[in-house]
Point group: C2
């Protein structure tokens, strides 16, 4: 398999991107990489060219640029060129740590949607940090690709999440939950009440009902479906609070004298485990699900380790044929819908 | 001043409610209490009847009951009777740890809205847990009184929050922020873009722009305004993550052997401080702002300490005349609006 990498995206590019790519290359003998970026800067960082091909680009999309305009104007940017390689079937997946909006736009307008999917959903794999449970993580979408959503978008997210949980995370019958402001059936605004009814009425979804934002990490579902607006707010609040708690502990230790510092040394393995469990890079990057090929974005601050983890995730997506299954499902669905609709056309 | 207390609401009622009331009574010589509840159960718990009058009620609204129906049917419940005492000016404020929906409904339909306020907002005082800043907390509304909001609701929340921050928290020029999915002016859905423009155009609001859910606790504003839907999701995610982190630490320590336990003993003061800073009861209860009198709800799990803190908060609301100021502002506003509208009617 071949992965098209935007070597210029992210705060630590190209250095950490290339370091991560080389680590992944050494781990997975079946992956080849196309590295898009400034030829000189990229070549300087590569230690070993084995299964790595550098493709020179002359433009860069900066973090603050307006995404859609940027991908239209900068045709020779690493993001646009990498996405085009996927479109032209020169690569099987697209990876970037750059401008999120531009990656989403390149995914949507260059790689393209699966037939039957109205809007792709940006998908994160989040932790279930309870050692008493067997479940380690869950699929969460949409985290903010779309600020305004319709009922059918959330129902499609349920399927996208289901197939991802089955194929990539290996959950045989994924439990699907709906993020809502209460657990009961009649909770939420019009949209969420309608989505509840749709998900509940759907035979091939194992719908387990509403899940409140306070219980997101508690392992009540394998997939939590949300509109991008709420999903974004709840995810950012979760990440922000985790950061705040870690920083409170750090401040408390620094201000707590020798006693606290000694305590910290003794608890260091515990804190290390927590930081790993709650860390953003442990479970890979954010996948724009609903596209014809894997388009995966890692955090702008990603280091080599996060890059390597994300490439593992992309490899599993390709190996497991999760996208093929999604394409097939929505294709059959569309055909069935057409058959169902025949009488209306008569 | 007189406070009407629902003695029967909450998981630890009436015991902890009455304990907290007695602690507050001993602290504040100018407060009298009306305790509404089961006469026998309440009297059993009271140690000293000084400035405490028990008013016998025969019904109770349970935690799971449908709120509006409950307050219509159970006229002799402690919630309805306490709210009525405020309406009839027999008491200056209403306090409960009971069914949140029923307290909101009693506030809205019995105590009543301030003229000019379309919808009251449920308001929490949340921590700014950064020891490097002087700011300890901020005002956050609406946390979920309304699942669907209009532009004017959020603008009214900005004023309600501003007056609360000024009068009750003593912030002279409260900075007002808007919870949104990005910091730039053009972020968000239609509603949030419109609210941004309104808040920014308003001379008497010190609007500091959008704040992302991930930065809520970082002290960027003294008041964060949000629609109840998003506000609820972000608040619950914040509380849930704080709980998860504390539980992870606890599990880590329990599974970490003697070394971890020793580390815990040394860091106990640090953890104690964190639990206090992040605790839900440290800053009092949730206030339904926009009503004619203080209506304040504490967490159902509240113990005496939380009850006492919430009564301090109610006392400050009454002493500071925050509601009188709000009434006056919206009264002038309505008069001015009428003057402005005159030409249209000609």
């Amino acid at each position: 398999m071949k992965i098209a990498v935007d070597a210029m995206g992210g705060d630590n590019a190209p250095q950490e991107i290339i370091k991560g790519v080389e680590q992944a290359r050494d781990l997975y003998p079946d992956i080849e990489f196309l590295l898009f970026g400034d030829e000189k800067k990229v070549n300087e960082q590569i230690k070993n060219n084995d299964r790595i091909q550098v493709i020179a680009t002359t433009e860069e999309i900066e973090m603050g640029e307006e995404p859609v305009r940027a991908i239209r104007k900068k045709k020779d940017s690493s993001i646009v060129r990498a996405a085009n390689a996927v479109k032209e079937h020169d690569a099987d997946a697209f990876f970037s740590a750059g401008n999120t909006g531009a990656v989403l736009a390149a995914g949507l307008f260059i790689v393209g949607r699966i037939k039957g999917i109205d809007r792709p959903g940006l998908t994160s794999i989040l932790p279930v940090p309870n050692p008493a449970l067997k479940q380690n993580n869950f699929v969460y979408l949409d985290t903010g690709a779309n600020a305004e959503s319709k009922e059918r978008n959330l129902v499609q997210y349920a399927y996208l999440g289901k197939f991802y949980a089955q194929k990539v995370l290996g959950v045989s019958e994924p439990r699907i939950g709906l993020l809502n402001n209460g657990e009961e059936e009649d909770k939420g605004d019009r949209l969420h009440k309608d989505v509840w009814q749709s998900l509940n009425a759907t035979e091939d979804l194992n719908f387990v009902g509403n899940i409140e934002a306070g219980g997101m990490l508690s392992g009540q579902a394998d997939v939590i479906v949300t509109d991008g607006w709420t999903g974004n707010a709840a995810l950012k609040a979760t990440e922000g609070t985790a950061r705040t708690m870690l920083s409170l502990i750090k401040h408390g230790i620094m201000d707590g004298g020798l006693r606290a510092k000694l305590g910290y040394l003794l608890l260091k393995p515990v804190f290390g485990k927590i930081a790993k469990v709650m860390g953003t890079s442990t479970y890979g990057g954010a996948v724009l699900l609903g596209l014809k090929s894997p388009v995966v974005k890692t955090h702008g601050a990603s280091k080599a380790d996060a890059v390597k983890n994300t490439i593992s995730q992309i490899k599993t997506m390709i190996d497991s044929k999760v996208i093929e299954q999604t394409v097939e499902y929505f294709d059959t669905e569309l055909t069935t819908e057409n058959v169902d609709k025949q009488p209306e056309n008569d």
